[in-house]
C-alpha cells in the first residue's frame, strides 16, 4: 500500500516538474525558430555578371572610379545617368559610392533561394548540389538577414533591400506620444485615488473601472481610436486646422491618432502600477510632513512622489514595453501598408515595427519570413533593453531604501 502511494507521489512530482520545464522549452524553441530563419545560406543570381561588364583580370572591387563610371555609361540609360549626376555629381562621388551604383543598377544580384540556419549547417552538400543543378549561374553566400543595412534602409518591396528605419522611427514617435499622454494622466489618477479619494461610490466605481479597462482586449482600444481620433477628431489629428499646407492624404490615420490610442491603452497599466508605488510609501513619512504643517500637495510633491518615483518609472517602463509590441490596435487605427519615407511630423502616415513584422509574415514569399525574423530579433532586443532598464531601476531603488 505504502509503495503505491510513494510511487504515485514520485510520478506526479515528475509530471509537475515536466510541466514547468515545458514552459522553458517553449521559450527556447520560440527563440530557436526565429534565429533559425534570420541567418542562413542564400543563392543569388546576378543580372549581369561582374566579369561580363568589366573586361579585366581584376575584380570589380579593384576598378578605378573612371572605369566604374564608364561601365555605368555603357549599361544604364542617359536619363538615369543624368538623374544620378543631378543627385550628386559624379566628380564628387566616391569610388565606393559609384561601385554601389554599379552593383544595384547593373549587376543587380537577386536572391533566388534561401535556407534556414539548421539546413545551412547540416545540409551543405545538398545546398551545393542545388546550386550546381538548378542555378548554374548562381552564387552561394552565407547571409545574415539582420544587418546594419537592414536597420538603416527604408521599406522596399524587394526582400534583400528592405529595412526597418521607417518602422523604427514610427514606433519611437508613437511611444513618445503615448507616454506624453498617459504618464501625467496615469500618475495624476493614481495620486487622486491613493491620497484624495474617500471610499465612496464614485471612487469605488473609478477603481473598479480601471481594473476592467486593463482587461479589455487591445483591439477594442483600436476601434475606439478609429472612431474617435481617426474619424471624429480628423481635423485635429490630420493637422488640417493647424495648417492648410499639410499633406492630408492620411485622412486622420496619422502617428498622432495611433499614439493617442496607444496612450489610452497603457493608461490603466500605468495607473495600477503607480498606485502600488504610492501605497508603498511609509505612513510615517506622510505623517511627519503633515506634522510640520505641510499642505497636502506639499507633502505629495516633496515626499510622496520623490520616494515612489523610481517604482512609478519601473511600472511605466513596463507599460511602454507593452505598447511597443502592440499590433492589433495599430492595424485597426489604420497603419499604412507601405511607407517608404521616414515620417516627418506627427501628422504623417505611419508604420511601426510590429506592423512590419505582421505584413512581412503575412506575405507568401519565403524570403519575407526571413526578413520578419530579423525584425522580430530587433523588437525583442528593444524589449529586453527596456525590461533590463526596469529591473536595474528596481534594484537601485531597493538598495537606496535599504541603505
Amino acid at each position: 500500500m505504502d509503495i503505491i502511494r510513494q510511487r504515485k507521489n514520485l510520478i506526479s512530482k515528475i509530471v509537475f516538474q515536466m510541466s514547468t520545464i515545458i514552459g522553458i522549452v517553449a521559450l527556447l524553441i520560440l527563440m530557436f525558430s526565429i534565429f533559425n530563419e534570420a541567418f542562413g545560406y542564400v543563392i543569388f543570381v546576378n543580372e549581369k555578371s561582374p566579369h561580363e561588364i568589366f573586361n579585366s583580370e581584376k575584380n570589380l572591387g579593384e576598378a578605378t572610379k573612371e572605369e566604374l563610371i564608364s561601365i555605368l555609361e555603357d549599361y544604364i540609360s542617359k536619363g538615369l545617368m543624368r538623374r544620378f549626376n543631378f543627385e550628386q555629381s559624379f566628380s564628387e562621388r566616391s569610388a565606393e559610392n559609384i561601385l554601389e551604383l554599379v552593383m544595384t543598377e547593373v549587376v543587380n544580384p537577386k536572391i533566388v533561394k534561401a535556407w534556414s540556419l539548421t539546413s545551412s549547417l547540416f545540409g551543405k552538400k545538398k545546398i551545393i548540389e542545388t546550386l550546381k543543378n538548378d542555378y548554374p549561374k548562381g552564387n552561394l553566400e552565407f547571409r545574415s538577414w539582420l544587418s546594419p543595412n537592414f536597420l538603416l534602409s527604408p521599406q522596399s518591396s524587394i526582400p534583400e533591400k528592405t529595412g526597418i528605419i521607417t518602422a523604427l522611427t514610427g514606433s519611437l514617435m508613437l511611444l513618445l506620444i503615448a507616454i506624453i499622454l498617459a504618464f501625467p494622466l496615469g500618475i495624476g489618477t493614481a495620486i487622486y485615488l491613493e491620497e484624495y479619494a474617500k471610499p465612496n461610490r464614485l471612487n469605488n466605481l473609478i477603481q473598479l473601472n480601471i481594473y476592467n479597462l486593463a482587461g479589455i482586449p487591445s483591439i477594442i482600444y483600436g476601434m475606439l481610436g478609429l472612431a474617435v481620433f481617426v474619424r471624429f477628431l480628423e481635423p485635429i489629428t490630420s493637422g488640417k486646422i493647424f495648417s492648410q499646407t499639410i499633406n492630408s492624404t492620411a485622412n486622420g490615420r496619422t502617428i498622432l491618432s495611433a499614439g493617442l490610442t496607444l496612450g489610452i491603452l497603457i493608461l490603466p497599466i500605468i495607473i495600477i502600477n503607480a498606485q502600488e508605488a504610492i501605497r508603498a510609501v511609509p505612513k510615517s513619512l506622510k505623517f511627519s510632513s503633515y506634522g510640520l504643517g505641510a499642505t497636502k500637495w506639499q507633502t505629495i510633491w516633496s515626499h510622496i512622489l520623490p520616494y515612489s518615483m523610481d517604482r512609478i518609472l519601473t511600472g511605466s517602463i513596463l507599460a511602454v514595453s507593452r505598447a511597443l509590441g502592440e499590433t492589433a490596435p495599430l492595424i485597426v487605427v489604420g497603419a499604412s501598408t507601405f511607407v517608404a519615407q521616414k515620417p516627418d511630423s506627427i501628422f504623417s502616415k505611419f508604420t511601426a515595427l510590429p506592423i512590419q513584422i505582421y505584413q512581412w509574415t503575412a506575405r507568401p514569399q519565403p524570403e519575407f519570413r526571413k526578413v520578419a525574423a530579423a525584425a522580430i530579433i530587433v523588437l525583442l532586443v528593444l524589449l529586453l533593453t527596456l525590461n533590463a532598464g526596469a529591473v536595474m531601476l528596481r534594484n537601485h531603488h531597493n538598495k537606496k531604501k535599504k541603505g
Binding site: 515536466m18 514547468t20 522553458i24 484624495y196 474617500k198 509574415t361 522580430i376
Partner: protein, 310 residues
C-alpha cells in the same frame, strides 16, 4: 488613506494663495481620474451606436445575426456563429494547453520547488508572458503549423488552421495561469499543510487533496482571466487561423475568428458608414461584453477568496 490630521492642523492658518493652489490641484487630479471613466463610456457609446446602425440598416436582424451560420458580407449574410465558433475553438485549444500545464507548474512551484529553482524559473516565465503576441503569431505560422503537418499529414492540416493558433495562444497564456494559480496556492495557510503532513500524507496527497481544493477559487479566477485573454487575442489568429469565415469543428481547417475579422476588415482602407465598417463594431460590442463578463466574474471570485483567508 485619507489623512485629515495634517489638513485640519493646517486649515487653521491658511494663506489664500496656497489654499487656492491646493483646490486647483485637487480639481486637476480628480479630473484625470474622471478620464478613465470617460474611456469606458466612450468605448460603450461608440460600440453601441455603430452596432445600432448595423442592426438598423435593414440588412440583418438580431435573430439572423445570432442564428445564421453564414458570414459573407459580400452577399449580405451576417451570421456571427462561424466567427464565434472559431473564436471558441482557438480559445478552447489554448485552454487545453495552458490549463493543465499552468496548474501543474503552479503546484510544482508552490509545493515542490526549492527557492533556488523558483528564482530561476519565474523570470523565464515572465519573459514568455512579455513577448509580443505578433511573435507568437509568427511562431504559430512558421513552426507549429509545419510541425502539425509533419505529424498529421500535409493533406489533413491546412496552411492556416485553428489548432496551431490555439497552441501558440496556449503557450502565451500558460505563464499567466501558472503565476496567478501559484499566488492562490501560496496564500493557503501553512497550518493546513503541516496538519496534513503530520497525519502522514504524501506530498501529492497534500497538494491535490488539501492545497488545491483550498485554493480552487483562485485557480478558477486564473482560468477565467486566461480565457478572456484568449477570446480577445488578435494577432496570433490573424496570422495563423486564416482569413474567411468557415463554420467547422475541424481544428485543422482554416477559420476566421471574431478578432481576426475585425483586424482584416479594418486593415484595408475601409469607408465610413458602410456595412463592413458597422459590422466590425457589432462584433466588437459582442467581444467587449464577453470579456467584460469574464473579467467581472474573475474579480468577484478573487474578492471572495481574499475574504476567506485575510
Amino acid at each position: 488613506m485619507n489623512l485629515s490630521i495634517g489638513a485640519t492642523l493646517f486649515d487653521k492658518n491658511p494663506s489664500k494663495a496656497l489654499q487656492l493652489r491646493e483646490l486647483l490641484l485637487r480639481g486637476l487630479l480628480s479630473f484625470s481620474a474622471i478620464i478613465s471613466i470617460c474611456v469606458t463610456l466612450g468605448i460603450v457609446y461608440i460600440l453601441s451606436t455603430e452596432a445600432f446602425l448595423f442592426f438598423s440598416s435593414g440588412e440583418v436582424s438580431l435573430l439572423e445575426f445570432f442564428s445564421s451560420i453564414e458570414w459573407q458580407p459580400v452577399i449580405d449574410k451576417f451570421g456571427i456563429l462561424p466567427l464565434l465558433n472559431s473564436t471558441l475553438m482557438t480559445s478552447f485549444i489554448a485552454m487545453l494547453v495552458a490549463g493543465p500545464l499552468g496548474i501543474f507548474a503552479a503546484i510544482y512551484m508552490s509545493e515542490y520547488a526549492s527557492n533556488n529553482f523558483k528564482a530561476r524559473v519565474k523570470p523565464i516565465l515572465e519573459i514568455l508572458a512579455g513577448i509580443p503576441t505578433i511573435v507568437y503569431g509568427y511562431f504559430a505560422l512558421t513552426f507549429i503549423t509545419p510541425f502539425l503537418k509533419n505529424i498529421f499529414g500535409h493533406d489533413v492540416v491546412d496552411v492556416y488552421n485553428t489548432a496551431s493558433a490555439g497552441i501558440a495562444m496556449g503557450i502565451l497564456i500558460f505563464p499567466m495561469i501558472a503565476s496567478m494559480s501559484e499566488d492562490a496556492l501560496s496564500a493557503v495557510p501553512s497550518g493546513l499543510r503541516q496538519a496534513a503532513y503530520g497525519l502522514g500524507a504524501t506530498k501529492l496527497e497534500v497538494s491535490t487533496g488539501i492545497i488545491v481544493p483550498s485554493a480552487i477559487s483562485g485557480i478558477m479566477a486564473a482560468f477565467i482571466v486566461g480565457l478572456s485573454r484568449a477570446v480577445g487575442e488578435t494577432m496570433i489568429v490573424a496570422l495563423a487561423a486564416g482569413a474567411g469565415s468557415n463554420f467547422t469543428f475541424n481544428p485543422f481547417k482554416s477559420a476566421e475568428t471574431m478578432t481576426g475579422y475585425i483586424a482584416r476588415i479594418s486593415g484595408g482602407d475601409i469607408g465610413y458608414d458602410t456595412v463592413d465598417y458597422n459590422s466590425i463594431f457589432a462584433i466588437g460590442i459582442f467581444l467587449f461584453i464577453i470579456t467584460l463578463v469574464l473579467n467581472i466574474i474573475s474579480q468577484k471570485i478573487i474578492g471572495r477568496y481574499r475574504e476567506i483567508y485575510d
